[in-house]
Each structure stands twice: as structure tokens, then as C-alpha cells.
């Protein structure tokens, strides 16, 4: 038993096909529970009123926006080192999901920022780094689209992902230097005793779990689609040459 056996597309299709319904159902359940609990059964914040409830969309999507890029980075490395096609396709599949998460985080942040800061957008370091992350996602996806040969595309996007990660990290700290922030510091960290008040914290954890599962389900689904598309192309080519 090792993770590398899923480098075999057939094995991956079997296991992911079996896994996908469970992941999807638990994602839906977690999201429903987390969001309904968060939206309707938590008290309003004493200063922010009910706008605080957007946290159940904002924080999990922001978290997944970054983690999707990390996943792409790991998958790209695996592709470059071990040449497993499933890995390259998983990286390709994760990008549109990641860019959607980034957009959700930016949009909910803007909607949240308007009543609180009096503006939809400020050139705050965190907001700016997310916008930059969005640009990186766009470039990555555009490069995948532009190159026809699938192996060349996988190689070049992987190299871009590696170099892009370095520069994305650099930009993230450069913007800290460039402007002071309106955005609060990290509200969730593993090493703090107390993060957010428990009433908000528990539904937030459920929503985060829901977003993680949703991301997993979408990436599995999209990877399966990519594998099927690859197979279809191979079949068509075989038919043409026959």
C-alpha cells in the first residue's frame, strides 16, 4: 500500500469513483450544517451586527484559495520528479477551483468591508496579495490553455507553478512592506489558546470542513473528467490512424 499506486489512472479512477459520492455528500452536509448554523443560530456581533456572519464564507474560501495553490505546487513537483500523469492533471484540475475560491474570498471580503471600513476595496496587504494570487492563477490557467501538447503543457505549467510560488510568497511580504493594513491579523491559528469566541468558532470549523470537502470533491471530479478527456482523445486518434 502506497500512495504511488494511484499514479495508475485506472486505479485512480476506481478509487476516486468509489470515494467521490461520499466526499460530495459529506461536503454538502458540512456546508449546509455550517452555513445554516452560522447564519441563523449564532448571535449578532455586538459591534458588527449581522455582517459578521459573512465570516462563514470568507474565511474558509480564503483558506482554500491558498491551499489550492499549495496542492498545485505539490502536484507539479510530483509530476516533474516522478512523471505521473494523474498528478499533472490534478494540478490542472485544481486551478479553476482555486481561482473561484480566490474570487469568493475577494467578493465576500468586499461585501464585508463596505459596512465595516466604508469601502469595498482598500490596498491593504492581505487584499492585495489575494489579488496578486488571482493574477497568478489566471496566468497558470492561460498557459495550460495555450499549449496543445499535453506533456509540454504539464511541464511548462509546473515550472511556472514553482517559480510563481516563489514570487507569490515574495509579493505577499513585499506588500506588507508597501502599505499598512486595515485587515485584522490572523484570527485562526493552531498555536493560540483561544481564537474566536466559541459561538462563532464551532460553526466556522464546520464550514471550513465543508469547504475542504467541497474542494476535494471538485478536484476529484475535474481530475476524473480530465482523465476521461485524455482517454477520449487517445481513442479518437487510434480511430483516425486505423
Amino acid at each position: 500500500m502506497s500512495i504511488w499506486k494511484y499514479a495508475n489512472p485506472k486505479k485512480f479512477m476506481e478509487t476516486s469513483g468509489w470515494l467521490l459520492p461520499y466526499v460530495t455528500v459529506s461536503a454538502v452536509v458540512c456546508l449546509c450544517v455550517g452555513l445554516v448554523w452560522g447564519f441563523f443560530f449564532t448571535p449578532d456581533d455586538f459591534r458588527q451586527g449581522s455582517t459578521v456572519k459573512i465570516i462563514y464564507l470568507h474565511v474558509p474560501s480564503a483558506l482554500m484559495a491558498i491551499n489550492a495553490w499549495l496542492m498545485m505546487l505539490v502536484a507539479s513537483l510530483v509530476w516533474l520528479v516522478r512523471r505521473h500523469h494523474v498528478s499533472a492533471l490534478a494540478a490542472k484540475a485544481a486551478a479553476p477551483v482555486g481561482v473561484t475560491m480566490t474570487l469568493i474570498a475577494l467578493a465576500t471580503g468586499a461585501i464585508w468591508g463596505e459596512p465595516l471600513w466604508g469601502t469595498y476595496w482598500a490596498w491593504d496587504p492581505r487584499l492585495t496579495s489575494f489579488l496578486i494570487l488571482f493574477l497568478f492563477y489566471l496566468g497558470y490557467m492561460a498557459l495550460w490553455e495555450a499549449i496543445e501538447d499535453p506533456d509540454t503543457a504539464a511541464d511548462l505549467t509546473s515550472v511556472l507553478c514553482l517559480v510563481g510560488s516563489v514570487f507569490a510568497l515574495l509579493s505577499r511580504y513585499a506588500v506588507n512592506f508597501w502599505n499598512q493594513g486595515l485587515h485584522q491579523g490572523a484570527s485562526l491559528s493552531l498555536d493560540k489558546e483561544k481564537n474566536v469566541a466559541d459561538v462563532f468558532y464551532h460553526p466556522l470549523l464546520v464550514s471550513i470542513a465543508g469547504f475542504v470537502l467541497l474542494f476535494l470533491a471538485l478536484v476529484l471530479l475535474r481530475t476524473r473528467t480530465e482523465i476521461r478527456a485524455r482517454r477520449l482523445k487517445a481513442l479518437l486518434r487510434r480511430e483516425q490512424t486505423a
Partner: protein
Amino acid sequence: MIPVLQRDLALAVKGGGGFGLGLAFFLIIVVLVPFGVGPQSELLSRIAPGILWVGALLSCLLSLDRIFQLDFEDGSLDLLATSPLPLETLALAKAAAHWLTTGLPLTLAAPILGLLLSLPTSAVFWLVLTLAIGTPALSLIGAFGAALTVGLKRGGLLLSILVLPLYIPTLIFGAEVVRRGADGLATATPLLFLGGITAGALAILPFATAAAVRINLR
């Protein structure tokens, strides 16, 4: 490495196009800005450092697709790749040639264009210094982007989408130094960061560029 550099420089000067085009583009951007924001010199001198940096960055972008494209099309890139010269050195030579024909002229022209935007005299020195330190990083990053898109028919637009986000840290620190210099503040920290980016790009990016060229020549 030197012969490749000389060849690229000769091609850039003789072939026309690329060499003067970046400079002309820089001039046009600088001329257009006052029409857009109005001729008040206080306003212009406040935004001049940023405009000059953004202008230099965009002018750099203009000639990037020439770094590898022409050589790829006429097959000389294949010859260069099979020569004993390592591809990493070739990437470095190409970036150096691009800098000598784009970054260096932009750096030298910047103070004159600064006059048009009433750039404070205290900032002129910092502008030239940061452009001299920062534009090599722009050329190195650009060569990487050019290597990624060399196999594509119309890679120009994609190239700018790939490269512009990578330019952000350089722009932030470069423009910050000039802004601080204009206000008479301490400039050491952003200047060191800018130098660090160039040094890091010089150390790492030729390898990434060579890897991308190799993939495209496969």
C-alpha cells in the same frame, strides 16, 4: 557566452525594431500621463516615481517575446542548444543582451523623462540607481516568461499575463526607494530588498529559463 551576447546585440542594433522601440514607448507613456491626470506640477511630481517605474516596466515587456522567438523560428535556437555552451549560460546571455538593449537605455533616459513629469531633483539619483539595480531582474524574469511561451504562435499577450505578476515585487521595492528618496527618508531597506530580488533572480531564473527552453525544444 560572449559571442552569443555580441551576436544578440548586433542583431538587436541592425535588425531595428526592438532596440529603439522600448525607448519610444517609454517616452510615449510619460507624455500621455499628463494628458490623463492634468498638468499640475505638484501632482505630477508626486506620481512621477511610480509612473516612471511602471513605464520602464511596460517598455521592458514590449521586447520580451523577441528574446527567444526569432531564434526558435529560424532554428538557431536548436543549434545553440546543441552547442557545448550550457543552456543556462545561454539563458543568462540572452537576458544580458535584453538588458543591454532595453534596461540600460531606459535607465539612462529616465532622468530626462523625469524632467517632463517634474520629478523632484532629490529623487533623480534614486530613480537611476533603482532602475540600474532593478531592470536586470526584469530582463531575467522576462527571459523566463519568453522561454515558457516560445513554442506558441501568438505568445505575446500570454507572455505579458505571465510576466506582469512576477514583476510586482521588483516594482514595489523600486518605486518605494524613489518615493522615499524624493521625501528625503531612509532608503536602505527597500534598496537592499531590490538588490536581493535581482541577485536571487540572477541565481535561480537562468536554470528555470533553461528548463523551459529544453521542454520547448523537445
